[in-house]
């Protein structure tokens, strides 16, 4: 039995109007995100047997997002951020009309495709959760997406200045809570956010690279 089963039981027997979002019960749709004993988790993947039978288990909605009812939150902030991300812009096809990518180029970004958009990382990130910097900060889920586009071997768009200015990657202080809660085990901080921070450093903070660009007259563009 998982926490979501217990909630369904409460719904059936004690509180018919209890609101809770769920869909797949297999940890793949990312709907049942909530905070269980204060920890952001998927309710369908959290076993009751992992808790002491005597223990009271507390469930709460995600703190970062406005509550619609009970455990259901309004996560539309995320979709608004996503709309602002410049989409995939592939380079021209090869002469035979195909696109070619080698396995080693795809491996790195494959990890990011595992995201189920549960938004637990957005919930736990203190920049959004406590400091409420939704005005300036996109949140870890969107750095995953930005990294998967920026590191894509076929993509030609350049999002580095937006990552700095609009999506506010500098607000992330790499404290890794997003990585700790991700149910897909994506290394959000190590493999997406830090590599993007380093790309920003190349462009904006590294004086030697700046000088080399001035001398050679070429900006590192794809």
């Amino acid at each position: 039995m998982v926490v979501l089963d217990a909630i369904h039981r409460i719904q059936a027997l004690h509180a018919n109007d209890l609101a809770c979002r769920w869909n797949c019960k297999a940890g793949k749709c990312g709907s049942c995100s909530m905070e269980i004993n204060g920890r952001p988790k998927l309710a369908c993947m959290t076993r009751l047997s992992d808790y002491d039978p005597e223990e009271t288990i507390t469930v709460q909605p995600m703190k970062t997002f406005p509550i619609i009812k009970d455990l259901v939150t309004d996560v539309s902030f995320n979709y608004e951020v996503n709309k602002r991300i410049p989409p995939f812009k592939p380079k021209p096809r090869d002469a035979d009309g195909n696109y070619r990518m080698m396995q080693k180029d795809v491996d790195r970004i494959q990890e990011f495709r595992k995201c189920i958009e549960c938004f637990l990382c957005q919930d736990v990130c203190h920049v959004l959760r406590d400091h409420r910097r939704q005005d300036a900060f996109a949140g870890p889920r969107w750095f995953i997406r930005l990294a998967s586009l920026e590191m894509h071997p076929l993509d030609t768009a350049d999002r580095v200045s937006q990552i700095k200015e609009d999506f506010g990657i500098g607000f992330c202080n790499i404290t890794k809570c997003c990585t700790e809660v991700c149910p897909e085990g994506i290394h959000i901080t190590d493999n997406a956010i830090i590599p993007l921070k380093e790309r920003l450093a190349d462009r904006y903070y590294d004086p030697v690279m700046w000088l080399m660009r001035k001398i050679t007259g070429k900006d590192r563009k794809k």
Binding site: T58, P61, V127, G170, C172, T175
Partner: protein, 286 residues
């Protein structure tokens, strides 16, 4: 509205949000021992800083042939009058300079320790560790951080963290220096041999290499900044280097702690032997 079945929990408490969340430093609904880890980090790092600072200002007993404490390497100048000092021939630039201002303690360590210090301070792993443990931003996951109005993260005062790569360049030089020390630890007065101290110095160089080679900035510069790993033979070569660095990078935290502990232990070991408090078992005879 909270969803607990206990009616007492349904009454909204003052200062809480509708979901029952509390605000403020250390506020959380977590019931596990979340404070243990930041506390352990706080204690571990504090102990290291205290010991390293103390050892750096001693200026003596950092050498006992053929072992040199890593806190004193590379040796730029040597003050041969200090007890347990290295021979002047070991120093890159010879004897301690006459013009050295009297108010600054004479210790070869304080000339070089800021460099590995800067490397660790700007390291992505240590940033996580001390932002959580020392700065409370946040102290734990889903635990209230120290309030800041407005929160700036690494966008303003902490922008210098973006220069981590320069500290890494110097750290790479230190790796070479420390391996040189480890190799020298096989030769006492020109005679080949091995002692416990040799092993201690080798482990030190190995752990510091493991830590340095896992650096995120290094990982980026050797290959992470490329979008296409297969587009030329040099990209292929950089990809294989990047993969190796990634292997170290995945254990960066473990190497960070092991090398931190061991570098302090190495200094301690050399110091104890140099002071004559413990014997060094070796093949040279005493």
């Amino acid at each position: 509205m909270a969803v607990s079945t206990n009616p007492a929990d349904h009454a909204p408490a003052a200062g809480t949000r509708p979901g029952g969340h509390k605000d403020g430093f250390r506020a959380t609904s977590r019931k596990d021992h979340w404070a243990t880890e930041p506390l352990a980090v706080l204690i571990g790092l504090s102990l290291f800083i205290i010991y390293a600072t103390w050892a750096a200002f001693q200026g003596n007993h950092y050498y006992v042939s053929p072992y040199l404490s890593p806190f004193y390497s590379p040796l730029l100048w040597v003050n041969p009058d200090a007890a347990g000092a290295a021979p002047v021939a070991h120093a890159w630039f010879g004897s301690w300079p006459q013009w050295w201002p009297a108010f600054i303690p004479i210790s070869p360590s304080i000339l070089i320790l800021p460099f590995p210090g800067a490397f660790r301070f700007t390291c992505y792993y240590y940033r996580k560790a001390y932002y959580r443990s020392f700065a409370g931003m946040p102290p734990g996951c889903a635990v209230g951080p120290i309030p800041q109005h407005p929160y700036k993260g690494e966008t303003k005062f902490l922008l210098f963290q973006n220069l981590h790569r320069y500290a890494m360049y110097i750290a790479l030089i230190f790796v070479v220096v420390l391996w040189t020390d480890a190799v020298r630890a096989f030769f006492k007065d020109g005679r080949f041999g091995i002692g416990v101290g040799t092993v201690v110095l080798i482990i030190n160089a190995a752990l510091l290499s493991g830590y340095t080679f896992g650096c995120h900035s290094l990982r980026h510069l050797v290959g992470g900044r490329l979008d296409c790993f297969s587009c030329s033979s040099s990209c292929e070569a950089r990809h294989s280097l990047w993969s190796k660095i990634t292997g170290f990078n995945e254990r960066h935290m473990q190497y960070a702690w092991m090398s931190l502990f061991w570098v302090a232990f190495t200094d301690f070991y050399v110091r104890m032997v140099s002071l004559g408090y413990i014997p060094d078992f070796n093949t040279w005879g005493r």
